[in-house]
Amino acid sequence: MLYLLILVAGGVLSWLGPWWMIAPVCFVLCWWKARSAGNAFWVSALAGITLWVGYGTYLHLAADVDLAGRVAGIFTGGAPALSWLPGIVLVSLISGLVVGLVSGFSGLAGVKMRAFRQTKKT
């Protein structure tokens, strides 16, 4: 449920706002719905990755040209050690890492802040 909520709310707000919109979404939804710290981190990270890599892959498949491959080439600098890796995989890994870290820690922050509020109430 949490996963789906992040996906939907994150998708809508990312469409409208800056790249880090996924962070407040994970924060708020985890505050509200997360069961535990681990649950918050991993569900947020997974949802963020699904959203970015999923939508990115969709755009990649819808495009006429392998732009992902060209951008990946800039990051590898044509290094032979990385040439076996398809560009889309490399850029998906970077995208996933960036959004996974940001959304994971944002979700974790949400559930931790909730815990802090609860310690103050009790």
């Binding site: 990312s14 469409w15 800056p18 790249w19 880090w20 962070a23 924060f27 970015w52 939508y55 990115g56 755009l59 990649h60 819808a62 495009a63 006429d64 040209v65 732009l67 992902a68 491959g69 060209r70 951008v71 990946a72 080439g73 800039i74 600098g77 044509g78 850029v91 970077i94 995208s95 960036v98 959004v99 870290l101 940001v102 820690f105 944002s106 974790l108 922050a109 931790k112 802040m113 815990a115 802090f116 310690t119």
Partner: protein
């Protein structure tokens, strides 16, 4: 501590957002760039509507833009203001990043987007005066109602596009380099043209020839660096009478050069690049199948992505023209309309000279000239370096021009401009209005209109080829050409002597030109504009004559020619140098048994002199020529001493006529005297050894010319190698008509067959209309270009023309 237990993930998340939101050294802001909702991913899909209506404040009336199947826009406006507004808008839509990048280069502002690494480059560009000159030209053009109007309309169109952009719409280069476009202005359009001036005229042989003079004296210079080549076919056919009374050229002074005080000058100013050149020609009705002229042009420039050219059609009640534009500049530069066609090649005469300046003292505020101290003008240039710091640099001007470098500093050595020398350069002339030449050519109906249009042009001088459906063909070496004494500026000049100043200008109507010559065609390939009967001095050296010779011998033989005959000539790969010199080289090789029996000798002996992609003989010949030149000259004209080699033509003449010349002997082998044939054999062996080392044993596959030449078309940002195209297989070479080398070549090929009713035209360039690496129109023409094909150009009569090739239609509407 307890608080920390609850709050740390919050701060980690904030820190991550901060880190991924900004760029770190060469790493772009990863969060922004990799976000699929706005980062690079979105450049792979078109976010702008391909069809439909746009409301654009600034328009006066509606404008219709049709896009054809090659993404070429056909703009139909109801007045000229709207026409150039729409041109700016449409080019920005495809090429915004590229045009702004060029403007930053010419303005010496690259440090603002790439950081301190570009400081030397920027400083050089400011010191040769490009930004200041562009500003002065822009100021002057404000007083020219027509130029001012089109430049401002164009800028308004570009800005209308920029204002619509949000981050997701930005060209991907902005995202990767992490900056945003600035507003466009007429000044930036002029900067674009300054870039062209530098590209076409930004080199000089003067320092290196001066070193030769210092070491060997005037007799050797006169012998090895003659004022006219042994074999040449000038633009104005030899024997043409000059239809004017020439002014008396200035007298040659007693001293023609200033030599460096001690030793040879350590200058490394780039020599004029032989790859920068072009071909154009027009045949008259007597040679064409239609009975009317056919015109062809292919400018040779560095091949880049995005391409330097952009195809478009511009139509208003005042004009209907098709051709290529330079991104960032209004009007069509090379093209045709219903009645006329025109094209350009570079003249390349000597329009850059260096004057040794004697300053009064270290303050650099006065210099000696004409027996008195004259004040310099100082300007402080400020460089903003990405990241916040600022660097200042003072630029000093004499009446000659800017002191390019005045103290021995690292940048001076790197870019190689003589220290303490002022530069006189035609590119810093601020009169005229180049942009008006194109504005009026776009509207020309006949020869008289063509000549009037040319009168506005300043620099860099171009050979404007012309044809009309009235049956005229013509070519004019057009632009400001300094009036010089014979040989003025071959060497470094004396900044104190008024006799060494430029003496004025050749009257424009006396520039080399020819109309409807008897031979039935006009042509140019950057060779001498005229033979030695021309009354003015232009330069002692022009591009090697091989392309011109081949073009003219093929045009001489043409009868009933069609547009396709001219297309085939553009792709001609016959090597006239090989035809000229191999009969003198091969016997020397054959005299040596071990060479004669080798497969490599066999390859060049049986070669048909064509630089085709599969020719192994072409590989051996091309590599051998540079080896041969070095074998003859590098011992006496050493690169360490920065000396100029004699030209290819002079070298061939030496081989042909002076087998006993002392230059063949190697100076550092004291006991032996090498003969011409020794040098020929030795250089051949060295060539083969190097080829084997690099490509292995000779085979038709590994030594094929197309593979060894390895043509590539790279992105303007050198690091973005994956945005370029490598390993393009085609034939060609520096000295052949299809002048495709590894990095330079025909940047636009056009053939226009004029007609009383409606012209038929063909064209193609090695790239694509879109500057977006995520578009299928980014590089879609490259493969056809490599094969030498041309597209039939869709030249519409009106916005209501129907064609199966039209794909999209945009209606631009003014704000109510």
């Amino acid at each position: 501590m307890k608080l920390f237990r609850y709050f740390w993930p919050f701060f980690v998340a904030l820190a991550l957002i901060y880190v991924f939101d900004r760029s770190w050294a060469l790493v772009p802001p990863l969060g922004r760039v990799f976000n699929p909702f706005g980062g690079f991913w979105t450049n792979g899909i078109s976010r702008l509507p391909a069809d439909g209506e746009l409301v654009l404040p600034g328009l006066r009336d509606e404008v219709v833009v049709h896009y054809d199947d090659n993404a070429v826009p056909h703009i139909f406006a109801q007045n000229d203001d709207d026409l150039y507004f729409a041109q700016g808008y449409v080019i920005a839509r495809d090429r915004l990043w590229q045009m702004e990048f060029y403007a930053l280069v010419a303005a010496g502002r690259l440090t603002e987007v790439v950081g301190a690494a570009a400081l030397d480059y920027d400083r050089f560009n400011r010191r040769i005066g490009m930004a200041r000159t562009a500003a002065a030209i822009t100021d002057k053009l404000k007083n020219d109602p027509t130029a001012d109007r089109i430049l401002r309309a164009y800028a308004a169109g570009v800005n209308a596009y920029i204002e619509q952009l949000d981050y997701a719409d930005l060209p991907v280069e902005y995202k990767l380099l992490n900056y945003r476009p600035e507003p466009w202005s007429p000044y930036k359009s002029i900067l674009m043209l300054m870039n062209m001036r530098y590209t076409l005229n930004g080199g000089s042989n003067d320092p290196r020839l001066t070193n030769v003079l210092a070491k060997y004296g005037p007799e050797v210079v006169a012998d090895l660096f003659p004022a006219y080549p042994a074999v040449e076919s000038p633009i104005v056919p030899a024997g043409t009478e000059w239809p004017f009374k020439a002014e008396v050229p200035p007298a040659v002074p007693d001293t023609v050069a200033v030599l460096p005080d001690n030793g040879l000058l350590a200058s490394r100013i780039p020599a004029p690049r032989p790859e920068i050149g072009s071909n154009n020609w027009a045949i008259g009705g007597s040679r064409s199948a239609t009975g009317l002229p056919i015109l062809a042009n292919d400018p040779h420039l560095q091949l880049t992505l995005p391409s330097i050219w952009y195809q478009m059609q511009l139509c208003s009640p005042d004009v209907n023209v098709y051709g290529v534009a330079l991104p960032g500049t209004p009007a069509i530069i090379i093209g045709f309309n219903k009645d006329v066609a025109w094209g350009v090649t570079n003249v390349g005469s000597d329009i850059m000279d260096f004057y040794r300046i004697r300053f009064r003292d270290k303050a650099l505020d006065a210099y000696w000239h004409g027996d008195q101290w004259k004040p310099t003008t100082a300007h402080v240039e400020t460089f903003k370096v990405k990241g916040g710091t600022e660097v200042r640099d003072t630029l000093y001007y004499t009446h000659h021009g800017p002191i390019v470098y005045h103290k021995a500093e690292r940048a001076a050595r790197a870019r190689g401009i003589p220290v303490g020398y002022a530069m006189r350069w035609v590119a810093n002339e601020t009169d005229g209005a180049d942009v008006l030449t194109f504005y009026y050519l776009n509207r020309a109906k006949n020869y008289e209109d063509y000549r009037k249009a040319l009168s506005h042009f300043t620099a860099p001088a171009q050979n404007f080829v012309f044809s009309s459906n009235g049956g005229d063909i013509a070519i004019t070496s057009n632009g400001k050409l300094p009036l010089k004494w014979k040989g003025q500026g071959r060497f470094l000049l004396d900044g104190a002597s008024p006799a060494h100043d430029w003496q004025g200008w050749i009257p424009k109507e006396q520039n080399p030109a020819v109309k409807n010559p008897e031979r039935g065609y006009v042509s140019s390939a950057n060779q001498f504009p005229a033979d030695t009967t021309y009354p003015y001095y232009l330069d002692w050296k022009f591009a090697h004559s091989s392309r011109a010779l081949r073009i003219n011998e093929r045009l001489d033989a043409m009868k009933n020619a069609t547009a396709d005959s001219l297309r085939m000539l553009q792709n001609d790969e016959y090597n006239v140098d090989a035809r000229r010199i191999l009969p003198h080289l091969l016997p020397a090789l054959a005299a040596d048994d071990s060479i004669r029996r080798s497969a490599e000798f066999d390859a060049i002996d049986r070669w048909d002199h064509r630089n085709t992609a599969d020719a192994v003989g072409a590989t051996v010949f091309e590599r051998w020529q540079s080896e041969l030149l070095a074998a003859i000259w590098s011992d006496e004209f050493t690169q360490d001493e920065r000396m100029l080699y004699p030209s290819l033509d002079r070298t061939y003449a030496l081989i042909e006529n002076e087998p006993e010349a002392r230059w063949f002997d190697k100076v550092h082998t004291e006991d032996t005297v090498e003969t011409r044939d020794d040098i020929i054999r030795e250089s051949f062996r060295a060539t083969i050894a190097k080829l084997k080392e690099r490509y292995g044993e000779m085979s038709p596959r590994t030594w094929a010319w197309g593979k060894v030449k390895g043509t590539r078309i790279m992105h303007l940002v050198p690091n973005f190698t994956s945005f370029g195209r490598r390993h393009i297989t085609n034939g060609g070479g520096n000295g052949v008509v299809n002048a495709t080398s590894a990095t330079h070549g025909p940047s636009w090929r056009m053939v226009v067959q004029l007609d009383k009713e409606w012209p038929v035209a063909y064209g193609l360039y090695p790239g694509g209309q879109s500057g977006n690496p995520g578009s299928k129109y980014y590089d879609n023409m490259i493969d056809r270009w490599a094969k030498g094909e041309l597209d039939t150009l869709l030249f519409m009569k009106s916005a209501h023309d129907s064609s199966a090739r039209l794909r999209h239609r945009i209606l631009m509407k003014p704000e109510n």
